[in-house]
Amino acid sequence: MVSNIAIFNSLLKGLAVTLQVLGYSVILALGLSFIFGFLSLSKWKMAKIVSHLYIEIFRGTSLLVQLFWLYFSLPILGIQLPAMLVGVLGLGLNYGAYGAVVVKTSIQAVPKGQFEASVALNMSPFRRMRSVILPQAFLIMLPTFSNLTIELLKGTSLVSLVTLSDLTFQAMALRSATMETVKIFTILLILYFIVAYPITLAFRWLEKKLSVGRG
């Protein structure tokens, strides 16, 4: 019989890893979303093709396949990455592809008149994007980004399958050590919910705050 405190402690250790993976991969995915989102809107044909390939390859093959590919295949090809990096890279690349589509469609959803007006006002392309288009596009992106962040959080549980000791990994280890299956997995589900819910609330708050005075 293992005490509840011992179970809780090792789950908390896993939670720290899960949050770390989540943090890093959100940053990577966000960066990739904007880079490839902008590239796919570029006039330069090569950039369009590159971003199209990136988006379709990473959306079209499954996240777990990508993680396993990075984990098992790269060492054979001579590249040895730590498990943490594999997890962050896999999650970031996968969700970055979904995010790139969101960035692209949100910018396209800004009314054309906004674009024309800023051209008529002789704004530089950079100024146009920064002061007129992006603030409006960002508001359109927010609800989808909120969903994607929750999807990413759920996706972090997959890193347990490439031996990173996250929340799910710790739970599986505890299961084989203590056989207290019911208790462990119930706590596990609740812990994930406790992480997810504030994220949803935070996005709702941000959306409300940013849409003030925007009819």
């Binding site: 093959t61 777990l64 054979i76 549980s157 399958l161 739970a171 997995f185 819910y197």
Partner: protein, 221 residues
């Protein structure tokens, strides 16, 4: 390093496993659609406690990882006397998880039906069952077919998770090939390509259907 011969030689084995992947997707999708519809109906119930309970349940399932839910069904249910095979546990988990997404899809479809349709139904003295089956559903379903199609593709790409509860589908097969020959690169690359070859055309088809339905119904949701 990379062996074309090996990559081709394992294809038949992987394609055989692909059948299991597709079966799991189809059965999972049917479960998701049925449960999703059930949640949608419950959320419209006049009985408030039921509405609150279903809303909370859906929110909880949607916010927690599918992988953990699969473990829960596979490892915790036996403690209560329900032992399921990997396939059954897998499609049940997959279906339950995605039912929480499909309920939103059904809701948008049903909400788009003008109020007059409901009123006309009751004015003509249709029973509640008849209003649903003869008036509302036939109008609510066609516009959401593309969205259902998208979720079908999403579920297809989530089936590799079923390998974690020891279902021998494509990823599990690739892993077995990899550990036997230590040729992981070919095995996982093949699996990735099979996924891409199936899901990319499928998403193009959904796009075409979406266009057709937009033309026919004037607007899409």
């Amino acid at each position: 390093m990379w062996s074309w011969d090996f990559a081709f030689s394992i294809l038949p084995q992987l394609l055989q496993a692909m059948v299991v992947t597709i079966e799991a997707t189809i059965v999972g999708f049917v479960i998701a659609a049925l449960l999703g519809l059930l949640w949608t109906l419950c959320k419209r119930s006049p009985f408030t406690p039921l509405r609150i309970a279903v809303n909370a349940f859906v929110e909880f399932i949607k916010s927690t990882p599918l992988l953990v839910q699969l473990y829960f069904i596979f490892f915790v249910f036996p403690a209560f006397g329900v032992s399921l095979s990997p396939f059954l546990a897998g499609v049940l988990g997959l279906g339950l998880h995605y039912s929480t997404y499909l309920t939103e899809v059904f809701r948008t479809g049903i909400d788009a039906i003008p109020k007059g349709q409901w009123e006309a139904g009751s004015a003509l003295n249709f029973s509640r069952v008849k209003i649903w089956t003869q008036i509302i559903m036939p109008q609510a379903i066609p516009p959401i077919i593309p969205m259902l199609g998208n979720y079908f593709i999403v579920m297809f790409k989530e089936t590799p998770l079923l390998s974690a509860i020891s279902l021998v589908e494509m990823v599990q097969t690739a892993q077995m090939i990899g550990s036997a020959s230590f040729r992981y690169v070919e095995a996982f690359t093949d699996v990735g390509i099979i996924f891409l070859v199936l899901s990319y055309p499928a998403s193009l088809i959904v796009g075409v259907i979406n266009k057709r339905i937009k033309q026919r119904f004037g607007q899409s949701i």
